[in-house]
């Protein structure tokens, strides 16, 4: 790992204090986010805020399971985010496919397709776990260890291969989209 310059260290400090989050939700995972945001747990006190578009976001929160159809969107969204960007895999679905692991269309392991910085285990993880994960991510950022975005750049070919293997072609191109 390259040594960070002073500016980068300062920047990492700032980045760890201001985490703007884009959450990809399939349903059950998103259930746990409102309590995290609202008065009970209040994630804004750590500078974490939900954002509307990938352009503005720093982290991509993947809650719940992915399938071949949604994975395209996730990859696409991830690529639209500005560097540096981080990914949190939320719940066991992103780790091993969760309860739908044996479905023909379920993506079992997110890590093959985009680099994940932090996983949150559980089905479902409690808000405390989410906050814990954020704290952990902040720590990693501060240390400069949250380098998923760099890994993605370096190993782009590998990620691409995985994506193509699973999806056939990453960007949809058929008669409906012309």
């Amino acid at each position: 790992m390259k040594e960070r310059t002073v500016w980068e260290q300062i920047a990492d400090q700032l980045r760890s204090r201001s985490i703007w989050m884009l959450h990809y939700c399939t349903g059950c995972g998103a259930m746990e986010l409102p309590p995290t945001m609202t008065a009970r747990f209040d994630m804004e006190r750590f500078g974490i805020m939900p954002m509307a578009t990938p352009r503005q976001a720093d982290i991509l929160l993947i809650t719940g399971y992915l399938n071949t159809k949604t994975l395209r969107r996730v990859i696409y969204t991830y690529e639209q985010m500005a560097d540096p960007k981080y990914v949190i895999g939320f719940g066991s679905c992103t780790i091993n496919g969760g309860i739908y692991y044996d479905s023909y269309s379920t993506i079992n392991r997110l890590d093959y397709y985009i680099p994940v910085d932090v996983y949150i285990a559980g089905c479902m993880p409690r808000p405390e776990a989410i906050l814990e994960a954020f704290q952990y991510l902040m720590e990693k950022i501060r240390k400069g260890e949250a380098d998923g975005w760099k890994r993605y750049k370096e190993n782009y070919e590998w990620y691409k291969q995985n994506q193509i293997r699973s999806l056939g072609e990453v960007y949809v191109h058929d008669e409906f989209h012309e």
């Binding site: 500016w7 920047a11 700032l14 980045r15 204090r17 201001s18 609202t38 008065a39 209040d42 804004e44 006190r45 750590f46 500078g47 939900p50 954002m51 509307a52 578009t53 352009r55 503005q56 720093d58 639209q80 985010m81 500005a82 560097d83 540096p84």
Partner: protein, 296 residues
């Protein structure tokens, strides 16, 4: 030459003070909602973090628009008098209309750049912002026009001097109330954050902004807030010396934040109907009172 120094001071105050206030505002909102909220310096972190990221640019008009927006906002913030004749950078040029329209340069730049990003959400947001402008500007301008008629001047620092006997808030309270309601719209605070409704149109004009573009526009927004509230403080609260000015600024800001933290969002035509209803009527009532000489 002193004008230039004062202008630079203006900008510095605008940047640091308003960013601080933003943090305070978020804190207050959090407290209203029984949360703890971020620290007061959170906005600084946000701005500089945004600036530190590696952004995407959607073409030269996108860049140009952002620069024009910030440039316009800086130019406007530089000529606004801060509460007293002494803190007036350019006493010959602090005409109200000049400020209002110079302010529009920034808005236009932002609108152009954001629509230049090619994203329809941005266009929708901008059209909403423009429509909203149609709503809040009219009552505001009528109140200001009646004030200029009353004092026979449009120069802000002269207006401040004329209030030595009593604040306009007390001289024409109706006008002040209308202006404050318009101010809420200008600030884009909660019942009137139609343009950047994040849940509806993916934060509207800002949809394509990443990294430093977001940061620069945030700074522009900061200057805009400074101009808007400063105008209100100068024209209605009698300005005052530097510290008084800051205090009044703070109070106005907190009031706006408090109101916005408990209200939901209007729909666009609801907003128009609202502004063209009671506030506009009151503005005309105020103008009528001024014409008749019935001021307090």
């Amino acid at each position: 030459m002193t004008g230039v120094y004062k202008a630079i001071f203006n900008l510095a105050i605008a940047f640091f003070f308003v960013l601080t206030l933003e943090g305070i505002g978020r804190k207050i909102t959090a407290r209203v909602q029984r949360r703890i909220g971020p620290p007061w310096y959170q906005s600084f972190i946000d701005v500089f973090k945004a600036l530190s990221k590696h952004p995407f640019s959607n073409g030269w008009i996108f860049d140009f628009g952002v620069l024009m927006a910030l440039g316009g906002a800086i130019a406007t913030a530089a000529i606004v008098p801060m509460g007293s004749t002494f803190w007036t950078p350019f006493p010959n040029t602090d005409n109200f209309f000049v400020i209002m329209y110079l302010f529009a340069v920034g808005a236009l730049g932002m609108a152009m750049g954001m629509v230049g990003s090619g994203n329809p959400w941005a266009s929708i947001g901008v059209t909403r912002a423009l429509t909203q402008m149609l709503g809040y500007e009219l009552p505001y301008l009528i109140v200001l026009a009646s004030m200029m008629f009353y004092y026979k001047t449009a120069s802000i620092h002269l207006l401040i001097e004329k209030q030595a006997g009593g604040w306009n808030l007390l001289v024409m309270p109706i006008g002040a109330i209308v202006a404050f309601i318009s101010l809420l719209g200008m600030l884009g605070k909660k019942p009137f954050d139609i343009a950047i409704a994040p849940a509806e149109i993916a934060s509207g004009p800002m949809v394509e902004l990443s990294g430093k573009y977001l940061g620069l526009l945030h700074i522009m927004h900061v200057f805009s807030i400074f101009v808007e509230i400063t105008l209100f403080v100068d024209v209605f609260l009698g300005g005052g010396n530097f510290w008084w000015f800051l205090l009044k600024f703070l109070i106005v800001w907190i009031l706006a934040v408090l109101i916005s933290s408990v209200l939901p969002r209007f729909r666009i035509e609801q907003m128009l109907k609202f502004y063209w209803g009671v506030p506009l009527g009151l503005a005309f009532l105020n103008a009528f009172f001024v014409l008749m000489g019935w001021t307090l």
